[in-house]
Symmetry: C2
Subunit: 326 residues, 2 copies
């Protein structure tokens, strides 16, 4: 049977999920692809940590050694735009298609990577970078074949949605809700990235690139977090039959893209009014198909890894003869 | 430029939508497919009705004449299992891929059509048959590549959901809510198909075929409509913080498929609790990606036609060399 050699950049939670799915779904993936998928190399930051991996997998902290293995596909599950951008650029230079879950990277360098990939008829897949296992990218990609997206409104950060939900449903203070989120593992020890809206902002920029083929000037995007929201704001909203939700909003008006991440008052008729907890949700108002809402997990080891494996499988649809030579 | 000859069976609301999209998106579809898509023939029931169509399109009530045109693809937008099944069987026999929006046909003869199509490496596409423009079929198809669907709960009939929403939100009686639905064009003059759960039942059987590769024995499926629900039931539910929703439910237990269409009490934590009006919504509980919910229009001319055109475009991904010879 043909073998597909896969390399993995990063062996954190998501990277481990990718390895687990490839192992546990081995037979099934073989049926689908007609090939055996083998993780042959993993790039890590700290070589000295113990990892329960078979000796057949090269574990290295040198990206060169990953390329030397000539992988057929690279899964990237590290954080931050660098060195991820350098790695993925070099992967594409070496004719290797990539599957990434890295939102900061894709928001910042997505356009450059897509352009480089297109020149070489390769794919850069990134379903997992926005809303984890919730297939927002795939759904939008297909809708955009026939539909224009007139407006997009979304809950793209599970942490802030969890905090606002707890404040609303349990009457928690902001501080208590944040502590509860951290205790549940929904918020980082340093939660600024979520609370100040950066996480949602990156995802929104990725969606703008997909929907409009470009991004707005980042300085012109409103980015407002939820730190200033307190119980009195929520009670006032409730009195008016409304909820406060931390939304990411995108629309085009006269060729100009208007984007914002900010707390918004929603009444009960809004499709995002009832989205509680750590879920993400996206409402896409389309020209022909009307408003569609997709709701699901916004994070999580297996949900995110599952989206990366789905991306990998779509490489067989996109130019298989070039990308995955079996 | 290459030409793709498309034939259309049925020229009701949805069929007209298909023609409109192919005309209004002409240039865009040419870019995507590299070919000009021409509707060359339309099968109608009543030949004598006036139709504002160009003379280049053959309008006929004889299916033979459709086949004589040797179309590259057939769009089917008629109602009921026959004669649609005969037509589509013969289309596949003649090596023509088909795109259908016909739920009664697909629930009844889907398995036979899929088997016939598979033998010939052809596709039968049917996104529009379940939840119209809401891409339930496409989303499930992709999820199933990596995920198992553990349970599916759905609002698959917009009419009954509209009636229950009106009864709940405006305090309408069942009769008044039904009249309002008919006035808005959301319910047929003879609404039995919706109210007794047949419409949702057909869609659920299509989903069972997709998810489990088979259907339960139809006689063992609970199919309960909403006719017996009155204001006192809704008030009782509201007192308990619940809503009554008309759900279609599907799960597999020990290799046996359990399916039901029936009114169910939902508490506010349920993802389908807040789905009001004529929308459809599907919650898929998956093994890895968790519960995903997709919400959107369950009917409508352009939403349904748009799903059919998306299906048509996916024919280029599935065995293009055989299906659409450009």
């Amino acid at each position: 049977m043909a073998v597909i050699k896969a390399a993995l950049l990063g062996y954190g939670t998501v990277g481990q999920g990718v390895v687990e799915i490839i192992q546990s779904r081995k037979k099934y993936l073989e049926q689908l692809t007609g090939a055996e998928i083998k993780i042959t190399a993993i790039l890590v930051k700290h070589l000295d940590r113990p990892r329960p991996l078979p000796a057949s997998i090269l574990v290295t902290d040198q990206f060169e050694e990953i390329l030397d293995q000539k992988p057929d596909v690279i899964f990237e599950a590290i954080n931050g735009e660098q060195p991820a951008y350098t790695y993925l650029s070099r992967a594409l230079d070496a004719d290797i298609p990539v599957v990434s879950a890295n939102k900061a990277l894709l928001a910042t360098h997505g356009a450059a990577l897509f352009a480089k990939a297109e020149k070489k008829s390769l794919s850069v897949k990134y379903e997992a970078a926005v809303a984890s296992g919730t297939p927002v990218i795939g759904t939008l990609t297909r809708l955009l074949q026939v539909n224009k997206v007139v407006k997009l409104e979304a809950i793209l950060n599970g942490t802030t949605n969890f905090i606002l939900s707890s404040m609303h449903n349990q009457g928690d203070s902001f501080e208590d809700a944040l502590k509860a989120a951290q205790k549940e593992g929904f918020a980082e020890a340093d939660p600024a990235n979520d609370l100040e809206g950066w996480d949602a902002f990156y995802k929104l920029m990725i969606l703008s690139q997909l929907i409009y083929g470009k991004q707005p000037d980042w300085h012109e995007v409103t980015r407002q977090g939820i730190i200033a929201i307190d119980q009195s704001d929520l009670k006032q909203a409730t009195l008016q039959g409304e909820r406060i939700k931390h939304l990411a909003i995108l629309e085009e008006s006269n060729g100009k893209i208007i984007a914002a991440v900010k707390p918004v008052h929603l009444d009960s008729s809004h499709s995002l009014y009832g989205i509680d907890g750590v879920d993400n949700a996206v409402t896409m108002t389309t020209e022909l198909a009307g408003p569609l809402t997709l709701r699901g997990p916004g994070a999580g080891k297996m949900a995110t890894a599952s989206a990366m494996i789905e991306d990998f499988l779509t490489l067989f649809e996109d130019q298989p003869e070039k990308q995955l030579q079996l």
